[in-house]
């Protein structure tokens, strides 16, 4: 049994919220560099250059990369040999988000109720996904999610007969409909299989995968590659103003599913694909 204090968790989450909103991970920066080289449209190239410059300014001057500093999505893998001390774990995470967004000059974009819409003024609550795993560590990923792209995400409850061609059509449909609204170049997270909510979860989680990595499953790896090529053939381009770089990556996760179903979720993220990872 290992003891971890809520104080340490709060402090860590706070730092992660601030870091995620000012600095992209090295894999994101690296795909940007490739994108600038590959883009065929002069206007598209100009926009990509602006976005690279934007990243530099954000980091140097501590200005959030995007004004939509997102709703804080937190993936937490809790080792079953960990004992949390000093209060509730969920409260500790929300306190970290509260402190990070307030002290880090981040935008408060959360309303307390979807219909009554009163701003909570501290960006809480976070959306927290817990998973109990082996071991005595806490593995935390903080992924602030902007809603320009979130609004363009989709779930398709396909049928087994639709097969892999149906999955490809679903992904292309979602990206095409998203077009300029989702701030391309995008990162496309896809979940295939499971149930209605499981495939949505996988699509979100897929966005946090290192963009340099590919799926361990051979056919999924091929599908990721093929879909990236197809999406970049849509012509949407940077800012949706035409071009050959519409997506920076397609990350796909799969899970066993029911004999009657083929759920597909497409979670679209803009080029500000923020995710910070820490282990306590």
């Amino acid at each position: 049994m290992r003891h971890i204090t809520t104080k340490e968790i709060t402090r860590t989450i706070k730092q992660m919220c601030i870091e995620a909103n000012h600095t992209l991970s090295p894999d994101m920066k690296s795909v940007f560099e490739t994108a600038v080289k590959e883009e065929a449209s002069p206007l598209g190239k100009k926009i990509l250059n602006q976005l690279e410059e934007n990243l530099r300014i954000a980091e140097e001057d501590m200005i959030p990369i995007c004004q939509d500093t997102g709703m804080a999505v937190v993936f937490m893998k809790v080792g079953q040999d960990v004992h949390i001390e000093g209060g509730g774990l969920t409260d500790a995470v929300n306190q970290g988000v509260r402190e990070g967004y307030t002290e880090g000059f981040l935008r408060k974009s959360v309303v307390s109720d979807p219909i009554e819409r009163v701003n909570t003024k501290d960006n809480t609550p976070a959306v927290i996904h817990y998973e109990i795993v082996d071991g005595d560590q806490l593995e935390i990923t903080v992924a602030p999610k902007g809603f320009g792209s979130e609004n363009m995400s989709r779930i398709f409850m396909l049928k087994p007969a639709d097969g892999i061609e149906g999955v490809k059509d679903a992904i292309l449909t979602a990206v095409k409909d998203a077009g300029p609204n989702a701030c391309p170049p995008m990162v496309v997270g896809v979940g295939i299989g499971g149930t209605f909510e499981k495939c949505a979860f996988m699509a979100k989680h897929a966005l946090t995968r290192n963009l340099k990595e590919t799926s361990p499953i051979p056919y999924v790896r091929d599908l990721e590659k093929e879909m990236l090529h197809k999406i970049n053939g849509l012509g949407i381009g940077p800012g949706g103003l035409g071009g050959t770089v519409t997506a920076l990556a397609v990350n796909i996760e799969t899970y066993p599913t029911h004999i009657a179903g083929l759920p597909v979720a497409v979670n679209i993220c803009c080029h500000v694909n923020r995710h910070v990872h820490r282990v306590i």
Binding site: N54, D61, P64, I65, T244
Partner: protein, 183 residues
């Protein structure tokens, strides 16, 4: 083509702008997004005055992050314009000159742009840090309780935008995509 224009802007000046032009805006513009549009519509429904004159003015669909000490504003990029579509034709008919946002517009908005000789610009989404450098002052003039969604008067210098829908209704989102599509 590259152009430099001033805000507020005249109808004659708007007419010269063509879809695809790269434009730098200098002058006074106003921010308003979802909640502010809802309030403006309610204000109009009650027959009251809006918090600023629409004549030739530009609305920037933007809700900034908080400013650090000594700076006029935080990160300040455009938000998705289509969420304002429901309210926009009425504002255009009352004289709104231009809108700055990102993403597609409805047919009703495009019709109102053509009917009134207005223009829709896109700023680069997700470039809030770099765009904030073009904003030299920011003052809340209405709906302060809405926080980031309050209406702000901004003084901008060379704010870079692209003409997406011009006063003739030409739409860069449609034409440019065709040019690079491999389908």
């Amino acid at each position: 083509m590259e152009r430099y224009i001033e805000a507020p802007v005249s109808r004659e000046e708007i007419k010269k702008l063509k879809a695809g032009d790269y434009v730098y805006i200098t002058g006074t513009i106003y921010t308003a997004r979802d909640a502010a549009h809802k309030r403006m519509q309610e204000t109009l429904d009650r027959g009251e005055e809006l918090p600023f004159s629409l004549q030739g003015n530009m609305i920037y669909y933007m809700g900034p992050s908080p400013a650090r000490e000594g700076r006029p504003i935080g990160s300040a990029g455009p938000t998705t314009a289509s969420r304002m579509d429901k309210y926009t034709p009425a504002l255009l008919d009352l004289g709104l000159g231009a809108m700055i946002g990102k993403g597609k517009r409805s047919k009703a908005v495009i019709d109102a742009i053509v009917r009134n000789g207005s223009v829709y610009f896109a700023a680069v989404g997700g470039a809030g840090a770099i765009l904030s450098k073009c904003i030299h002052s920011s003052e809340i003039i209405a709906y302060e309780d809405l926080g980031t969604e309050a209406v702000r008067r901004l003084e901008v210098k060379d704010l870079p935008v692209v003409v997406v829908i011009d006063s003739n209704g030409s739409n860069l989102y449609e034409t440019a995509v065709l040019e690079y599509s491999r389908q």
